[in-house]
């Protein structure tokens, strides 16, 4: 169990390509921190710098209070689980797991004990004599984790470990990693591009974009209060609806007859309005009127993709199948939705505005 601190950690490749820029991060002891972001955001580079596989261009890497910038990978007390597992194909499962201990010249009895303990923990004790090529994907994944556990590292590093598994196995291994982490009380840094994996596993979540940290926090805090449009789009499935706010003489509008009201600061600066698909509900009196473009049934719920007048961006609502069936709404038909949750406001720099606001329908001209 160790802490990890990054201070202004940077990685610049030749040609002034900045993979990671001045990154500040603290991983508490026993914490599972998930770094998530699209490919090329620098998350793997960060992990490889922590592992010692990539030279650090700037800043400090501190593992358990010691500056580890120049330490050999083996001396950092980290273990890494690779995306392709990186099992040694010419060694048995036992030898794969024992390799690090053999290099440390541990007594034979201790090596056997530790390998068997880890194998039992992961349920692979029957496979110890096998070669990696005779294992299934899930078993290889377990061996790769076993190899990390055997070393009793201060910090576990995971580099998209589940991306080569099929969907069902991924869910199972995800739970297993979580259980294992709680049981060992280990500190883990986990990199993935899969936001569901990130949400379900993380104690704290780091969203990265173009080499910088976009936001750090618990999965729920990121879900409830995304710091930027990028995070809003990335966290949550289906993604948050982001609709540009229109400016008029009498304030901010979503559509011609739908005004944004509330905190004057918010209404003055809001450039984008965020609405979670879960926070929309069918309502014949609802303030949002549009046309249904497509209905995707998911089972219990359906995703209804609508189009608002005057907007190119589709608006997606997650609606219960029963309500949808009862309403008789069909593709290309009209739909009215009410907002049933918080509005997220973002300024013209795509940063979050923490002010309360609501959508107010203006009275129709005919009603006056």
């Amino acid at each position: 169990m160790a802490t990890l601190t990054c201070r202004q950690l940077s990685k610049t490749y030749p040609g002034d390509h900045r993979a990671v820029e001045a990154l500040d991060l603290t991983l508490e002891a026993g914490e599972l921190m998930v770094v998530v972001g699209p490919s090329g955001c620098g998350k793997s580079t960060l992990l490889r710098m922590v592992a010692g596989l990539e030279a650090i261009s700037g800043g400090q890497l501190i593992i358990d209070g010691t500056v580890a910038n120049a330490l050999e990978p083996a001396r950092r007390g980290v273990a890494m689980v690779f995306q392709n597992y990186a099992l040694y194909p010419h060694m048995s499962v036992f030898d794969n797991m024992a390799y690090a201990l053999k290099l440390q010249r541990r007594p034979r009895a201790e090596i056997e004990r530790r390998v068997h303990e880890a194998a039992t923990l992961l349920g692979i004790d029957a496979l110890l004599e096998r070669r990696p090529r005779h294992l299934s994907g899930g078993q290889r994944q377990r061996v790769a984790m076993g190899r990390a556990i055997v070393r009793e590292p201060a910090l576990f590093l995971f580099d998209e470990p589940l991306s080569n598994l099929d969907a069902a196995l991924r869910v199972q291994m995800r739970q297993e990693i979580r259980r294992l982490q709680q049981r060992l009380g280990a500190s883990m840094l986990y990199v993935t591009h899969d936001q569901v994996e990130a949400m379900t596993l993380a104690d704290r979540l780091v969203v990265m974009r173009e080499g910088r940290i976009e936001q750090i926090g618990t999965p729920m805090s990121l879900f409830e209060a995304p710091a930027s449009c990028f995070v809003a789009r990335f966290i949550g499935s289906p993604a948050m609806n982001l609709i540009p706010v229109k400016r008029a003489r009498d304030g901010a509008h979503l559509c011609a007859r739908l005004q944004l009201s509330g905190d004057p600061e918010a209404t003055a600066r809001a450039a984008t309005l965020g609405l979670r698909p879960e926070h929309l509900r069918l309502d014949p009196q609802g303030e949002l009127a549009g046309t249904v473009e497509m209905i995707e049934p998911l089972g219990v719920d359906a995703l209804v993709h609508c189009r608002l007048p005057e907007h190119h961006e589709p608006l997606t609502a997650r609606l219960p199948m029963t309500a949808l069936a009862a309403s008789g709404i069909r593709q290309q038909g009209a739909i009215r939705l009410a907002v049933d949750g918080p509005l997220h406001l973002f300024d013209d720099q795509d940063r979050r505005l923490d002010h309360a606001a609501r959508l107010t329908p203006l009275p129709s001209l005919f009603a006056i």
């Binding site: 596989l53 083996a74 690779f82 990186a86 040694y88 390799y99 690090a100 290099l103």
Partner: protein, 291 residues
């Protein structure tokens, strides 16, 4: 009648040219040499007499044959070992090169494109006792180089020339083998605490073993047969038989001395030897190869 049955003879027709070439240039001479191994011909090649195993007995009893055998063993070990080790070393280095990697690889592969006969002449000129460039360089270091007089120097010359020829072939395969090894394996080993040397011994070498095994078989064949041109163009088997390998002696006895019976017996023995060697390699070494 199905399509396959109707065209039963078409595959044979398509294979015919290749089969004809193999039959004319391989099976026929091989069968002929097998037959001649049991006959003695007269000096003018007009008549022959069946002698049973007498040719084999004569060959086995001659000290010249065993001298050629020991030269061949020494030569083979030096060339195959040298060409493989050197190629491995160069491949490891070329694998690490970041800038101009392509150029290095082309240059290191080049010697293989040169015909053995041309390579032999090249080396002959460089090490010529009178004209040779390298002879003069060596003289500067106080070494009196004359491969035409000194048996050790003659052997060294053909060994170097053969290694230089074969190394490129080995290099290409070793480099390809190295590039097949996933980087993440070496990274995992680095995190597990293996330094560069341990990584090479513990991970790289075992994963290269299929390549190495293949090259061992190919190099054995090369060194036993294809080095003929190199020897014929540099030392002519001399001085005093110091570079007379089995295949060169076979050639001398058969085509220079016109003793076809003895030469054929030697070629049969050589064939048996290579067959046995390949069998042993597959039987005992392949088991230890990691795929």
């Amino acid at each position: 009648m199905t399509t396959f049955e109707r065209y039963r003879f078409t595959p044979w027709l398509l294979l015919a040219p290749q089969l004809a070439i193999v039959a004319v240039f391989f099976f026929w001479p091989a069968a002929d040499s097998l037959r001649q191994a049991f006959y003695v011909q007269d000096a003018f090649g007009l008549g022959e007499r069946f002698v049973g195993l007498a040719n084999f007995q004569r060959v086995m009893a001659s000290s010249g044959y065993w001298q050629a055998m020991s030269v061949t063993v020494l030569f083979s070990v030096l060339v195959a070992g040298g060409a493989m080790l050197l190629a491995l070393l160069l491949a490891v280095l070329a694998d690490r090169v970041l800038h101009g990697a392509r150029l290095y690889r082309v240059l290191l592969t080049w010697p293989y494109a040169i015909a053995p006969a041309v390579a032999g002449i090249l080396w002959m000129f460089m090490f010529d006792p009178v004209l040779g460039v390298l002879t003069h360089v060596l003289a500067g270091f106080g070494v009196h180089w004359d491969a035409q007089l000194h048996p050790g120097q003659a052997l060294a010359l053909v060994v170097i020339a053969s290694i230089w020829q074969q190394m490129s072939y080995n290099f290409v395969f070793f480099l390809a083998g190295l590039q097949m090894i996933p980087t993440s394996l070496l990274e995992a080993a680095a995190i597990d605490g293996a330094g560069p040397f341990r990584r090479f011994i513990g991970i790289t070498l075992p994963l290269l073993s299929p390549t190495a095994f293949f090259l061992l078989v190919m190099n054995s064949v090369y060194v036993l047969f294809e080095t003929f041109a190199t020897i014929d163009n540099t030392t002519l088997g001399g001085p005093g038989g110091a570079t007379r390998t089995l295949v060169y002696k076979l050639y001398e006895d058969g085509f220079v001395a016109r003793d076809l019976g003895s030469s054929s017996a030697q070629s049969v023995l050589l064939m048996v030897l290579v067959g046995a060697l390949t069998f042993v390699q597959f039987r005992y070494l392949e088991r230890r190869v990691q795929y």
